[in-house]
């Protein structure tokens, strides 16, 4: 199959046909319609798409952090070091969370517990996964704060979240996530809620630290600029499925899916100066509560032909390490 040469030693995370449903009062939302991808050791993979396309659900499904009552991963495998972590007991899963796979969330303002100091919260992560005593863990917390370049870490460890700015809180989140040197860091829109000026700093910080610690990173974002700057490989998602994946150069040079093309066109290009109007993708995202026949992008697609409305295109290779789920990928690339 596609791009799965063989699950070699360098593959860290191997997701196969992951399928997650959300349960409403009278409906089922197929948030993930069976997605497959791999993350290699030390690699940075971007996951892009509009809000609601299943990016965050993918992350939460991998870590098994979905809300228990309303969501369930109904199929597929998540192989981490070759072991399907969907099969693990809750106890075994907790040992992986925060230790081998860590996560940074979108909302730094609300993602830290308001009633504990940030030092305490970082130290907690250390203490859960090592036998460190509280003073040792607190020293580690201080060291982590220094690592994420928070000024005056000796003082800041005993600050409460509400005493910090959004950018600083996100640094604390990063410190917490990296405290146990995870092999995989999942960053779910880590810069979206921040000021533009802070965004670049936080991105650079994540990339620097990742390189220093040799962790792989899954960068979830809707911002292609972020992807271009930070990632080696890109996964494009639409309506709960992967529609294209490629290394970053190929993707930007020759996008093979009309949706990817649309995304790129709607990014302002400073080289072209002031544009009168950014092109947007017409139409709306399909309702995932109803079964979709054919390609889910077809109703919005300028390339759509009859087959697109009848049969769902499989994700297929369109170049070396470049795959797209489009019947007319070759024509799209040429266009």
């Amino acid at each position: 199959m596609l791009m799965r040469e063989f699950a070699g030693d360098d593959v860290l995370l191997d997701v196969r046909d992951l399928e997650t449903h959300f349960y409403g009062e009278e409906s089922v939302t197929r948030a993930l319609g069976g997605i497959s991808f791999q993350v290699k050791k030390g690699e940075t993979v971007g996951v892009v798409g509009e809000s609601g396309c299943g990016k965050s659900v993918t992350a939460l499904s991998i870590l098994r952090l979905l809300p228990k009552l309303s969501a369930k991963t109904v199929g597929g495998e998540v192989r981490f070091h070759g072991r399907d972590i969907l099969e693990l007991s809750d106890r075994e899963m907790r040992k992986i969370r925060g230790d081998q796979i860590a996560m940074i969330f979108q909302e730094p303002m609300t993602s830290l517990n308001p009633v504990y100091t940030v030092g305490h919260q970082i130290a907690e992560a250390v203490q859960i996964h090592t036998k460190a005593s509280r003073p040792v863990a607190m020293a580690k917390a201080e060291e982590m704060l220094r690592l994420v370049r928070i000024a005056d870490p000796e003082r800041r460890v005993s600050n409460y979240p509400h005493e910090m700015s959004g950018g600083m809180r996100q640094r604390v989140m990063i410190a917490m996530a990296l405290a146990c040197s995870p092999e995989l860091l999942i960053a779910d829109e880590p810069t979206t809620a921040l000021d533009v000026t802070i965004q670049a700093q936080i991105l650079r910080l994540i990339v620097d630290l990742k390189d220093r610690m040799g962790a792989a990173v899954m960068f979830i974002t809707h911002d292609l600029g972020v992807v271009a700057e930070t990632c080696q490989r890109v996964i494009v998602m639409y309506a709960g499925r992967i529609v294209e994946q490629a290394n970053v150069v190929d993707l930007f040079a020759r996008p093979a899916h009309p949706y990817t093309q649309g995304l790129m066109r709607s990014v302002p290009d400073p080289r072209r100066g002031r544009q009168r109007r950014l092109p947007e993708i017409p139409g709306i995202v399909p309702n995932l509560r109803e079964p979709i026949v054919g390609c889910s992008f077809a109703p919005r697609c300028p390339f759509a032909i009859d087959i697109c409305r009848e049969k769902r295109p499989p994700l297929r290779d369109v170049g070396s390490s470049h795959a797209a789920a489009c019947w007319r990928a070759e024509e799209v690339m040429g266009a």
């Binding site: 870590l63 952090l65 009552l69 809750d90 907790r94 040992k95 992986i96 969370r97 925060g98 230790d99 860590a102 996560m103 969330f105 909302e107 609300t110 993602s111 830290l112 517990n113 308001p114 009633v115 504990y116 907690e124 992560a125 859960i128 996964h129 409460y160 509400h162 989140m173 917490m176 996530a177």
Partner: protein, 313 residues
């Protein structure tokens, strides 16, 4: 912070003055001459005049109020009409049973109610949760004197497991003291447990859906740490508030429970006082419970700062 405490103090004093005025007027509004009421039925005209003079009833009302209020502040709660003894003495004699019952009830209700609420929130929609819904409908609807008689009937009269009624002073040994308090405490606690459990559950549910709970889970925190370390401290402020506010309710329940179980506490004292129209006792108990209520809620408000660092007055 200091300014906030000061402001709270001022409003607390304002509330207490209101209550004081109300309680003071109670005796004045009662039909008949207060001096005649206090002197009792067999008093002569001279005796009534003497009491009138002694109580300063010939002074203007505001002067009387100030005298009375300062008397209370000095601990002078007046003289019981019925027994002729100082009210303070009567109340302090009755304090132990009432305190025993109230404190045991508080401990039992908070322990059981909070745990019950946490469990129900943790598995919301599950068995414990449904049990809580049913139990709280029950606990809210069955008055303490009905539960009390059920408990007495089954556990004391039929099974002979526990004493039917009465109170054994703590000085005579912990065993008898505790055995006599089991049924009253359980009877009084049921409604309280339902109440605290429901508030705890609602408050925990709110907290459990917060982003930082997901962060804790992503760290690999255990269920125990999530519930008791991360969630409970955040849910604590509303829980503490309702426990403070329900103090007045507890006292009402204590009065009824003491009657059911024949416990010689302050509740019995008040009920007997109504039948004897012993106004100084009624007035004193009203002032004391209301003062205690206000004090408890002031303490609760200030205790917030210990729980939640965001609250800075």
């Amino acid at each position: 912070m200091a300014i906030y405490i000061l402001r709270r103090m001022v409003s607390t004093i304002a509330v207490m003055v209101m209550v004081g005025m109300f309680v003071f007027l109670l005796l004045r509004l009662a039909p008949g001459d207060p001096a005649a009421i206090i002197a009792g039925k067999s008093a002569t005209a001279e005796m009534i005049a003497g009491i009138r003079e002694q109580l300063g009833l010939n002074d203007p009302l505001p002067v009387q109020f100030v005298h009375w209020a300062f008397g209370i502040l000095r601990g002078d709660l007046g003289i019981s009409i019925f027994s002729g003894r100082p009210v303070l003495e009567l109340i302090s004699q009755r304090l132990e049973p009432t305190l025993s019952l109230s404190i045991l009830t508080m401990i039992l209700s908070v322990l059981v109610g909070v745990s019950f609420g946490i469990l129900a929130a943790w598995r919301s929609g599950g068995f414990v949760d449904r049990l809580l819904t049913a139990f709280s409908a029950f606990g809210y609807s069955v008055p303490v004197f009905v539960i009390g008689y059920f408990l007495i009937y089954f556990f004391a009269i039929r099974m002979h497991w526990l004493p039917v009624q009465g109170y054994a002073p703590i000085g005579e040994g912990l065993g008898p003291w505790f055995v006599h308090l089991v049924l009253p405490t359980v009877a009084l606690s049921l409604g309280f447990i339902a109440f605290i459990a429901r508030v705890t559950r609602a408050s925990m549910l709110e907290v459990l859906s917060e982003d930082y709970m997901r962060t804790a889970a992503a760290k690999g925190a255990s269920s125990y740490a999530m519930l008791f370390h991360h969630a409970l401290k955040n849910a604590g402020v509303p829980i503490l508030t309702v426990i403070g506010l329900s103090f007045a309710w507890l006292i009402g329940g204590v009065v009824l429970t003491e009657t059911v179980f024949n416990i010689p506490g302050i509740g019995r004292l008040v009920v007997d006082a109504i039948n004897n129209r012993d106004y100084p006792i009624i007035q004193s108990v009203l002032i004391l419970t209301s003062g205690l209520y206000v004090l408890i809620n002031l303490t609760v408000d200030l205790a917030y700062t210990l729980i939640d660092p965001r609250i800075r007055y």
